[in-house]
Symmetry: C2
Subunit: 79 residues, 2 copies
């Protein structure tokens, strides 16, 4: 699983858990709705500032987002 895919997976599940739509999240972190969509589908990777903006909106520390991303990359590596 690529970093983009892993991050997208974490993003989507965290956003869903907060009950936010892609558009609400996008407005909240000052990014474009279509970009959030592409991130979740692993078709784009975020920059550092995007990671920070998203983490703030989701109320999850950025290092925790990255930790979870690494975690599922490791999991998929095992199989």
């Amino acid at each position: 699983m690529s970093p983009e895919e892993a991050f997208g997976f974490i993003l989507k599940s965290a956003r869903s858990k907060k009950g936010l739509s892609q558009e609400q999240l996008a407005l909240n972190c000052d990014l474009d709705r279509t970009f959030i969509s592409m991130l979740e589908r692993g078709q784009r990777q975020p920059s550092l500032t995007s990671i920070l903006a998203i983490s703030t909106s989701l109320e999850i520390p950025a290092n925790e987002l990255i930790r979870q991303t690494l975690e599922i990359m490791d999991e998929s590596y095992k199989t």
Copy 2:
């Protein structure tokens, strides 16, 4: 202190601590030497994959790099 500056600061100190030159690090993580230089000076921000490549080369977990980056952002915010 901006995210770029904070990350640059962490990058430079971590690289120095490992006794690596910018060029050695660049070769190691398959990035350009001049780009490493700009990152350290806060003139560029890394993408997710750059963060991961750098963290691997420095043998510091990416989430730890981010944690330290957030930490000094917070510190500079207080003053």
